[in-house]
């Protein structure tokens, strides 16, 4: 029986792993193809099924005809994601500390309601906000600008920062804050000198979530920008609708997800250090 179980287990893990890797492998081979490798039906192995070429990869950096400029959208995505994440992290961490340590009361509204308000923003379907954002950014002349997008992204990422950090702060014993205050720290000094230095793991998690969700957004970038500013996901998708060869498509797609795969490795490293896994067992 245990034998059978092990076979099933290995099969399951291998099977799922294959499923996970499959799209990347496909994109990888496809990126080296030319017309012959695509139009006659699916092909898989370079040199065996088709003649590989680096045309797609060379074209990524905006040289020659039929090429795509990936660098510009990549940079734009970086700027927008990092700025919005940084601001959301700062404002969100401050708010989370307040919600964790102090008692707020405005009529019937208390801490739990406020936390719920922050976190529940995630329920908001993007489509509900798309139209008003479209109209309002237009009103302020912020359509198709980096600033406009950053503002919108802050609204998306702030709740994430608050959600992660409130939980994290709640796990830091209050006695630490108290000791700092007795030693002469005002609440702000307590936060800055004592709590923050001990909050690195939480900040990292919140930061990663913000960056990933920000980088991966398509919808708002799609509806709120056109030509001046283009974020990476939008750039890739717009290739989809035009008559772009599959190989360029695959190459661009791989380039756009590569940074995140690197981040995934770093995150796993960090998780294993025990900081996030929770259990030091």
């Amino acid at each position: 029986m245990p034998r059978l179980f092990r076979i099933i287990k290995t099969a399951a893990i291998l099977g799922w792993s294959a499923f996970v890797i499959a799209p990347f492998l496909w994109a990888l081979t496809t990126s080296f193809k030319t017309a012959n490798g695509v139009t006659a039906g699916p092909t898989y192995l370079p040199y065996v099924d088709y003649e590989p070429s680096l045309a797609a990869w060379k074209g990524l950096f905006g040289s020659g005809a039929g090429s795509i400029d990936i660098v510009q959208p990549f940079a734009a995505s970086m700027i927008v994601t990092l700025s919005a994440s940084a601001i959301s992290l700062i404002l969100g961490t401050l708010a989370a500390y307040g919600l964790s340590r102090f008692v707020y009361k405005a009529g019937p509204i208390g801490n739990n309601d406020l936390t719920f308000f922050f976190v529940s923003q995630r329920i908001m379907p993007p489509v509900v906000l798309a139209i008003p954002f479209f109209l309002m950014l237009g009103f302020f002349g912020l359509l198709d600008t980096i600033l406009g997008l950053v503002i919108v992204y802050i609204a998306l990422l702030l709740p994430i920062a608050v959600w992660v950090m409130v939980d994290f702060f709640n796990n830091i014993p209050r006695e630490l804050d108290e000791t700092a205050m007795i030693d002469g720290c005002t609440p702000i000094e307590t936060f800055w000198r004592v709590i923050l230095p001990n909050s690195l793991p939480g900040l990292v998690v919140a930061g990663i979530f913000c960056i990933v969700f920000g980088w991966n957004d398509f919808f708002f970038a799609f509806t709120l920008t056109f030509t001046e500013t283009q974020l990476l996901p939008v750039a890739i998708v717009s290739l989809n609708s035009s008559v772009t060869p599959w190989w360029s498509l695959s190459a661009s797609a791989l380039v756009s997800v590569a940074p995140l795969i690197v981040v995934a490795f770093l995150v796993e490293r960090y998780l294993e250090k025990g900081s996030l896994a929770g259990a030091r067992k």
Partner: protein, 291 residues
């Protein structure tokens, strides 16, 4: 404690006010717009009372999209939960395996869903994509992935499962690792096999975490739109058109802004009510089962 008030405000207000400013105005604005007849032909904020809302009642396409959304979201979350739990259970005890699989499983979650959707589209291309090649290899023959209603739905679900099972996997894994060891030792001493242990110890102990993970995923899954936009464009026909996609079409493609605004508000209210009910039900179930 004395002297805290200004500090309290210093911490909370910047974030709270920013969020309110960015979210509240658009929301109120949307409500106002929903009472207007703004569309491509007559742009501008007039007032037509509840006209848009009345139209929603008889808009079969909207209600169908809701049902479709319910089906797709539930299917996705259920599959993701089962697969993730199974994988987590298989890998939980062995550290090295855990690390390797954790990286592997982490990757889909971190990638840009839209970009992956572009790749999936090429995979499921009915004549040039490897999916049908595989089907032929297995002796099943060509499948009309994107041109038949049923299969298109399957594709959408499959893509979502690929993308988000890792998320469930991480949450459930963290949960499993944080369980106290004693009940498991007790079960082992009582001679319980793996299946009995699962149903009597593991699953009940994981109930709160399972509920949390399911709720979070449900909330996110209900917003599904980008995948559909890229892979199926809501089709064939309206076979994979979820509510978000429908509202998007009405608002930003047909430019019937007033009506789309009304749809948005209605959709938002329905979502909040439904999700709150589900959350409360799950919470009560947890309390009853003594979690």
């Amino acid at each position: 404690m004395y002297g805290l008030s200004r500090y309290k405000l210093f911490f909370l207000l910047p974030g709270l006010l920013t969020l309110l400013a960015i979210i509240l105005f658009p929301l109120i604005f949307t409500i106002r717009v929903s009472f207007s007849g703004w569309d491509a032909a007559s742009p501008g904020l007039n007032f037509i009372g509840g006209g848009n809302y009345g139209r929603i009642f008889s808009d079969a396409r909207f209600w169908e999209s809701l049902v479709r959304l319910g089906f797709i979201a539930t299917a996705c979350v259920l599959l993701e939960y089962v697969i993730a739990f199974a994988l987590a259970l298989l890998v939980w005890h062995q550290v090295r395996l855990r690390r390797l699989t954790r990286v592997l499983f982490l990757i889909p979650m971190m990638t840009t869903p839209v970009v992956m959707a572009v790749i999936w589209r090429t995979i499921f291309h009915e004549s040039l994509g490897p999916a049908n090649d595989l089907m032929q290899f297995l002796g099943i023959g060509n499948v009309a992935w994107l041109t038949s209603a049923g299969w298109a739905t399957v594709v959408v679900i499959l893509v979502d499962v690929w993308q988000w099972t890792p998320f469930m996997f991480l949450l459930l894994m963290a949960g499993l690792l944080s369980l106290p060891k004693e009940p498991f030792l007790a079960a082992a001493i009582d001679g319980a096999g793996p299946i009995r242990t699962f149903f009597n110890v593991t699953f009940p102990a994981m109930a709160p975490i399972s509920a949390g993970a399911v709720i979070i995923r449900l909330i996110e899954a209900s917003k599904i739109m980008e995948t559909i936009y890229v892979v199926t464009s809501g089709g064939p026909g309206t076979a994979t058109e979820t509510s978000s996609y429908y509202i998007f079409i009405r608002g930003l493609r047909d430019f019937q802004i007033g009506y789309a605004a009304a749809l948005s508000i209605t959709y938002l209210v329905i979502m909040i009510v439904l999700l709150t009910i589900i959350a409360k039900l799950l919470a009560r179930y947890l309390v009853k089962s003594g979690a």
